[in-house]
């Protein structure tokens, strides 16, 4: 009975808590100086639009805008796929690195060491030039486009980092919890699934999101191996238009677009970290 009442109280207390939390996040967004900068930038842009005195460089930027967005879509696509592959692979590697067999642990340590200490650019070159441009599967010849090779090139360092995040999270759970669960008659896999893993997932989220932001920023390197991403589109636009003011505008737009994508992720990460620190 006592349990029931606390449960009810807990639930009753949680509902408005969640709502105020959402409201708090929204208020944080409104107060964020970068959001205010964005609003302040929108005012002159609207004025130029309405008054019809748009400078040539800005007009060209609007002309190139859909192409830039397609480029950004490519970056996002690469980052999402690379992170998905990296997470799956990383969890497997991380799980092996916790195995009681020494040779398995040593091999995962070597894997993590190699892919964390290699420059990402070199790995991207590696996968782009070493893999063939098409693969024969049974009777068909499937194309192997460059952007998928970049996905693999980014997934390798991502997996090494995920493996470290996973290992760190599992090892950060006090050993006493393993012992306590053991003494209650839980098996190793049971302890892992019902006691350790739920706590790990919460701990892994902030560093995982940091990694996602960092992988997203690394997708800019795809332009160096000929993938038509945002950076490549901006370079093409700058060379086609060939005006000094347009070149300045487009490169700083590039900076702003990446910032607009990565900054909210990093703010959310910090918010989660702070919330986790209170627990």
């Amino acid at each position: 009975m006592a349990n029931d009442t606390t449960l009810k109280l807990g639930r009753a207390g949680q509902a408005p808590g969640a709502r105020t939390r959402v409201r708090g996040v929204l208020r944080g967004v409104w107060r964020d100086p970068w959001f205010i900068v964005l609003l302040l930038l929108a005012v002159p842009a609207l004025y130029l639009r309405v008054s019809g005195t748009t400078p040539v460089a800005v007009e060209r930027l609007w002309y190139w805008w859909p192409a830039l967005m397609r480029g950004l879509g490519m970056n996002v696509q690469i980052s999402l796929l690379a992170m998905a592959m990296g997470t799956l692979l990383g969890l497997v590697v991380g799980a092996i690195s916790l195995s009681p067999l020494a040779p398995l642990r040593a091999s995962t340590r070597a894997y993590v060491l190699v892919f964390r200490n290699a420059p990402i650019l070199v790995l991207v070159y590696f996968t782009t030039y070493v893999f063939p441009f098409e693969v024969p599967v049974a009777h068909w010849v499937l194309p192997f486009p460059d952007w998928i090779k970049v996905v693999i090139g980014l997934a390798l360092p991502a997996s090494a980092n995920v493996a470290e995040i996973f290992r760190g999270a599992v090892q950060s759970i006090p050993a006493a919890q393993w012992e306590a669960a053991h003494s209650l008659g839980f098996a190793r896999t049971q302890i892992f699934r019902t006691v350790i893993l739920p706590q790990c997932l919460r701990r892994m989220l902030p560093p995982w999101m940091n990694l996602y932001a960092s992988i997203t920023m690394s997708t800019a390197l795809a332009s160096l191996v000929g993938v038509h991403d945002l950076v490549d589109t901006a370079t093409v636009a700058s060379n086609t238009v060939a005006r000094t003011d347009f070149t300045i505008l487009i490169y700083f737009t590039l900076l702003a677009l990446f910032f607009a994508y990565c900054y909210p992720i990093s703010r959310l990460t910090r918010y989660l970290e702070r919330r986790h620190a209170r627990h």
């Binding site: 200490n117 590696f126 030039y129 920023m217 800019a220 000094t244 590039l254 900076l255 990446f258």
Partner: protein, 245 residues
């Protein structure tokens, strides 16, 4: 002597399916060795510059003056949340172009210097975050003691806060420096002749991408290992009983 050694190596690698014949060509060997040297120079130049900027930014961030901390905080956010490659383009393709136009051709800043500047500033931001955490971890009583001994603000920062913050932040700083070494590979994007760029030049002549990439990975592995060994040595050297992690 060296030539026969190199020949032996090529003969050893061939049965493994690796073709290192380029080391027997004097021109390509010289280009590759020069690339190794340029990467080393890039690291040697960026590490001290990044630490210097890192200390300056950290000092600014902890100064408590709004006109200094606000723009610096904005710069930190901007640098952390944009790709280094795009920053390099903004610096080299935009700022460098503007400087060249102003000076009409006589631009004294080389691409090498731009890479050092961009990479160091990028990592300086991460150094500054680590150092700031270290500065803020200095106990208040220590600062009160320093103030009661009539230390000025700069003296407190330089003689009390930074030495303690350095010990606190050293593991993070070494991590950042390892990242910095890896980051110098983007120099190849603006045709600075580092090891990556020279390798691209070589493998576009011959079909030996895998061989060269293995060499590059080994080289970066060596450099990052040296940085982490130096960091560990410094950590044990600077350790003060009862302070730090």
């Amino acid at each position: 002597m060296t030539h026969s050694l190199l020949e032996g190596w090529v003969a050893f690698a061939r049965p493994l399916g690796l073709n290192y014949a380029f080391v027997l060509d004097a021109g390509e060997r010289a280009a590759f060795v020069h690339g190794l040297w340029v990467t080393l120079q890039l690291c040697a130049a960026s590490i001290p510059v990044s630490l210097l900027f890192g200390v300056l930014i950290a000092a600014g961030l902890t100064s408590g003056r709004a006109w200094l901390t606000r723009p610096l905080a904005a710069f930190v956010e901007l640098t952390r949340n944009t790709p280094t490659l795009v920053q390099l383009y903004c610096a080299f393709l935009v700022l460098n172009m503007l400087i060249s136009q102003k000076l009409e051709g006589g631009n004294p800043i080389t691409p090498f210097m731009w890479v050092v500047l961009v990479v160091s500033l990028h990592k300086a931001v991460f150094h500054a975050e680590a150092l700031r955490a270290g500065i803020e971890a200095v106990p208040g009583v220590t600062l009160e003691a320093a103030r009661s001994l009539a230390f000025s603000r700069v003296e407190i920062l330089w003689r009390v806060q930074l030495p303690l913050a350095l010990r606190f932040a050293l593991p993070a700083l070494v991590n950042n420096l390892v990242d910095l070494v890896k980051m110098t590979a983007i120099a190849s994007a603006i045709a600075v002749g580092d090891v990556t760029y020279e390798s691209i030049m070589i493998w576009s002549q011959r079909d030996n991408v895998l061989e060269l990439l293995l060499l590059i990975l080994l080289y970066f592995g060596l450099l990052t290992w040296l940085v982490s060994v130096a960091g560990r040595w410094l950590e044990s050297r600077l350790r003060m009983p009862g302070y730090g992690q």
